[in-house]
Subunit: 341 residues, 2 copies
DNA sequence: AGCAGATATGTAAGCGCTTGCATTTTGCAT
DNA sequence: ATGCAAAATGCAAGCGCTTACATATCTGCT
């Protein structure tokens, strides 16, 4: 017995089973269109040869890949992990494979990845957030690739979306902070450019401040990439002001965790000396102590529903309606009243 | 101007540029084999049409995919994140794309994923750890798919590997724990089956215990999947023994963080009342307080070197030599002398 | 027994690209 | 001008699969 020079093909199976390649193909893809006896014969050949269909050939011939692409801003932290996990589980159940790539929060890389996934024959695409060059939506439409947006809900956008209202969610949290008595508020935001979530969360804080009649000079924003150390650095920067804030709202949990750690390094107690809040409610939020007061996002639900929605768009050629999900605030001990209050 | 019914093809470009498809193909893949003037003409057509090569067709024709597959046990926690990130960055530099999938620590899922990646034409594969059915190595060899193993170094194994000596690393850490005065040691291990890293780490602790003449009844092991909550539960279980351990070594940082949090919930101070150590030195280890005393693994270096090695194996058909990397212990405050010592 | 209609299988035309080989063009020394 | 090797390009054969469409083989009726 010599090793095969290359993988067995449909032809090999067909020959061994004494049928045509068409029949073998049908056995694999439409078993009910082939009579039981032949089916068994073919199956035996498949097993004997250890045959696995060549994916590229299948994609070419069928013009379907049963592959869904997703482009997320980063894999470095866990922000998207849980949602994506649920997304992929649901996809798997429906017979689809997920291909993930990351854009490092860079629009041009995202565009490159979109083209790459299109070239790979992705049947549908999941993108994060709405902010991107409108040309991209045109491209996707011209290539007939159903696209769904997650992590940010917006009706009547260029593409359907499933997510939550970032602005309102953050506003709610900010109002709670203000209600606790804080008047000097700082914010550590992610980079706004090309990131509607970051932008909307800032606006949410502003909404709350306006609604509660907070003086604008009591509100400073530092913008920095979503990384733990950056959260720490931004925290230090905010606290170095002549009149430092008593509460700091962070654009997400990663920044907040960095802020909490830095506060502790600086000898500040959270929340006695300074309050800090997060956004996302990822695992990290509960590991740091005190645990973060943060906005809980239903990641798993979002991922699962996104999968269902996108598969439907792909299979029925329908436009997709999108859906808004609710968030809620979880209290974790990092938010308290202002000092000497 | 009507929307194209489907993506432009090589043919379209060729026609527009007034050359043959062969020339267009060469422009894209071997630009130096085509004269500058034609190259420009072709490039213009490519741009005008917004042409992107069809990946499946290219793979079929070229029998190369410039894709490397990696199968990791889990994406849920960050254990593999940093190493994989470095792996993919290096791969990208070399012109390869990384396809990642996870096996959920299940051998049969891993096998399925291996076949899937093979079917997708992966030029090479990165696998974690050595423990798996030997048939798989045969399959990979018969399909001529270069395979490299990471996260665990072992010379003369069925496949080359790049990683560290899990057993010795853990032994070193355990010796330090014993040197601190602990005689009753507990261990929270990951599931051993199909996971040589987990197995070797246990053996490392045993090595140290034997070398230091520790009584075997002073050493209890709890085996549980790598998840934070499990670490907590296992910790509670260990501490519920009539004579609880004074130090608990964990199979990785995730388990250790769970243990630390649970200890605090139980009103135990770390390390005054109980010492806890981790393994991996992931970000989490430094966020929890006290920070973990743990084994630092050079994840980025490992990922980068794995990429270089694997690409070489793919491009030169060489067997690959593998490499052992050093680990070191980082002290984080979670390890102290035993109580009343 | 014989036939319509369903059911099962085979035939063969691509899908979009790469690449060995054949052919044409070019550059340059004579 | 002429010839020749080298460089540039074209031709066409696949790569392994799916799927109309054509053909062959069954059903169950009358």
């Amino acid at each position: 017995m010599s090793k095969p020079r290359s993988a067995p093909t449909l032809d090999d199976v067909a020959k061994m089973a004494g049928v045509s390649t068409a029949t073998v193909s049908r056995c694999l893809n439409n078993p009910d269109r082939v009579v039981a006896t032949t089916r068994e014969r073919v199956q035996a050949a498949v097993d004997a040869l250890g045959y696995t269909p060549n994916f590229a050939a299948r994609v070419m011939a069928a013009k379907r890949s049963f592959t869904i692409g997703a482009i997320i801003p980063t894999m470095e932290n866990a922000i998207f992990a849980r949602g994506l996990q649920a997304f992929q589980e649901e996809l798997h159940l429906r017979g689809y494979t997920l291909l993930v790539s990351s854009s490092a929060y860079k629009p041009d890389i995202e565009e490159e990845q979109i083209r790459k996934l299109a070239a790979r024959g992705a049947d549908g695409l999941l993108l994060i957030g709405h902010d991107r060059d409108p040309e991209i939506y045109k491209y996707l439409e011209s290539r007939r690739i159903p696209t769904l947006i997650a992590w940010s809900y917006r009706p009547n956008a260029l593409a359907p979306s499933i997510g939550f209202d970032n602005r309102k969610a953050m506003r709610n949290l900010a109002e709670r902070v203000i209600a606790a008595g804080h008047t000097r508020i700082g914010m550590i935001s992610g980079i706004r450019e090309g990131n509607d979530r970051a932008r909307l969360r800032i606006e949410g804080v502003q909404d709350a401040a306006n609604a509660r009649g907070l003086s604008p000079d009591g509100f400073t924003i530092v913008e920095t990439p979503y990384e733990i150390e950056n959260g720490g650095a931004a925290f230090a920067e905010l606290m170095a002001q002549p009149v430092p804030p008593t509460a700091i709202l962070c654009g997400n949990d990663v920044l907040a965790v960095g802020a909490v750690r830095r506060a502790q390094d600086m000898g500040l107690r959270v929340p006695q000396d300074v309050s800090i809040t997060g956004f996302d409610d990822i695992e990290l939020a509960r590991i740091v102590s005190p645990a973060l007061t943060t906005v809980h996002v239903p990641h798993r639900e979002m991922g699962r529903k996104a999968a269902l929605q996108l598969v439907e768009m792909v299979e029925t050629q329908s436009p997709g309606q999108g859906e808004q999900l609710a968030t809620n605030i979880v209290s974790g001990g990092s938010l308290g009243p202002p000092p000497q209050g």
